[in-house]
């Protein structure tokens, strides 16, 4: 009798445990699904709200809005091309500076620097990302703008003035300065993430390359960079996303002029900046709806950029996979 007792007693307990476990799992599963779907919901909802609130302007200007160059709040005649141009050009300049610089920092920290120095510089790089953008704007206004006006722009126009990009009067504020500020702001994204990606390169691969007589540079070129290509691309696009949407620092140094000029010395304007600047005093419904449409265009461009990023990362994954197999 004692035997049956021992055998029978635990069964309901186990059953109950199993039940609890499966309920717990279910709750866990569905709550995480719920949280994940909130993200999708938020993105769709933002897009929907932008679309609804810009309907007035969408109706009035139609697709022409994207390639017209007028911006006249008094006559209520609007086109977004100068802002689209300014956003894309300032972000491109930023990438041109930040990608080589960021990758250089990452390679140095990972490959060359002694650990103590690497940690210190790594920490400082991450700190750059934590500085509020208005502080970057102030540094831009008080330090970078005078330097660009008095040193960089005269230098560029003297030696490269035959290229239309570097012609014109040196104002200090303008597209070039905005690109420089943005480059400093997005540098930590590229440097920090790339460094972390480099850390995931298997030591054995690097050691085998070295065993075959590769120099440090060759190891970097043949093993480290190809192995972490998709990660580096990801970091660059994350940085680009930040550059496209940056508002405060850019508006403080770009000159805020809705015109398309070839020269990088000339003032420009970005989409995020015009929304921040004009939203508070936009009284008429058409004006307000136009600013929302600028937001919609920015939203669309961000989605497009991220989509291209996904595709490039996916491709580089595949080619990396094939390369490894071959």
């Amino acid at each position: 009798m004692a035997l049956t007792n021992v055998a029978n007693a635990p069964t309901p307990v186990i059953r109950r445990l199993k039940f609890v476990e499966s309920v717990g799992d279910l709750v866990f599963k569905w709550s995480t699904i719920f949280f994940a779907s909130l993200i999708i919901l938020a993105a769709v909802w933002i897009g929907w709200e932008l679309l609804i609130n810009s309907s007035l302007s969408l109706k009035k200007f139609g697709l022409n809005f994207l390639w017209r160059q007028v911006w006249d709040p008094v006559m209520e005649d609007f086109g977004a091309l100068p802002f689209i141009y300014g956003t894309l050009v300032s972000s491109t300049i930023a990438l041109l500076f930040a990608v080589p610089l960021g990758l250089g920092v990452a390679v140095f920290l990972y490959e060359l620097a002694p650990p103590k120095i690497a940690d210190a510089i790594g920490f400082l790089t991450e700190l750059l990302a934590a500085i509020p953008s208005v502080v970057y704007g102030l540094i831009g206004v008080f330090v970078i703008v005078p330097w660009v006006r008095c040193s960089l722009e005269p230098f560029l126009s003297k030696y490269l003035g035959f290229i239309p990009l570097f012609k014109g009067a040196p104002y200090g504020v303008g597209m070039l300065t905005a690109g420089l500020i943005l480059a400093i702001m997005i540098l930590p994204f590229i440097a920090t993430i790339s460094r972390e990606i480099f850390k995931t390169v298997p030591q054995s691969l690097k050691e085998s390359a070295m065993a075959l007589g590769a120099t440090r540079w060759e190891v970097l070129r043949i093993v480290t960079i190809p192995f972490s290509k998709s990660g580096i691309l990801g970091s660059i696009f994350l940085a680009l996303g930040r550059a496209l949407g940056e508002t405060m620092a850019v508006t403080m140094v770009i000159g805020n002029r809705p015109e398309i000029k070839l020269s990088l010395f000339e003032p420009g304007y970005t989409m995020a900046a015009v929304i921040a600047n004009e939203f508070t005093e936009a009284t008429s419904s058409l004006y307000l709806s136009t600013l929302v449409e600028v937001g919609l265009v920015l939203f669309g461009i961000t989605i497009l950029v991220n989509g291209i990023a996904r595709m490039m990362i996916y491709r580089s994954h595949r080619s990396a996979g094939l390369g490894a197999r071959a």
Binding site: Y171, V173, E281
Partner: protein, 340 residues
Amino acid sequence: MKTLIKILGIFALGLHLSAGFAGAEDVLINGAGATFPYPIYSKWFDEYHKLKPDLKFNYQSIGSGGGIRQIMAQTVDFGASDSPMKDTDMESAPGFLFHIPTVLGAVVVTYNIPAVTGNIKLTQAALSKIFLGTINKWNDPEIQKDNPGISFPDQPIIVVHRSDGSGTSSIFTDFLAKVSLSWSTKVGRGTSVAWPTGLGGKGNEGVVGLIKLTPYSIGYCELIYAQSNKLPIADIQNKAGKFITPSLGSVTAAAQGKIPSDFRVSITNCDAAAGYPISGFTWLLVYEKQKNAVKGKALVGFLHWMLKDGQKLAGDLGYAPLPENVNQMVEKAIMKIKVQ
């Protein structure tokens, strides 16, 4: 588990009690609008709170446009604006809105010309042509002829304007549109306009910063910003033909003409001979019929105080007090606010 529930219970009780106390005694009046008078408004609300500790004001300086939108939607108890509401807005508002002038502000023209010290004089025509871009060199005869003692450099003029929509731009462009036909047809007036030339700076501080850092630039900002940054200020020619230095006195003088009973008036290019021509009122927007008796009474009480003691605080912060005749008119208007 039980202790946790107990702790939570105590917290909930505490929250409930503190909320109860706040609700029983304090009156919170919400307002939103113009950024231009924000320093004086926050000073007033602070001082008035010291007088009446159970009364609190919460003012959000979100811009005149936002202030008009919010008071029309009745999400705030009062609005504030640097430019009078349009007739269409007045009609679509759910009740009649009083425009209560509070103080006067001046928009001054400031510049950075190395080697030129002292105040330059600008005629109405010269000023509008500089901002239109038709006068683009400092040594243009039209600037030179009114400033015989100053030798201007042969340098291009860099115009600086506000990039954000603002009451300051509204007053400035209103003046230019009144004095220049080509400005009013080509550009017009508004909180944001399509500037024919120049760089945009965000906020008064952005414009002042750009002017300070850019040699041969000219721009406009509120009086207090130019004064506190020790920037030179141009004398501007008024309607009577006199060159007027902006000061609290000359700004108050600008409002001494005929003022309509609803106070929705622009006083740029004023008739007064001693008046500075680029001045303007800033208004509080208050419904004629106050729905909430407690808040309505408190608001009316504040307005009376603002006209008497509040006006004395304006000068220190760079705002010109209302002239006596306007002050009396406003006093009468406040009497008409009905508290139900």
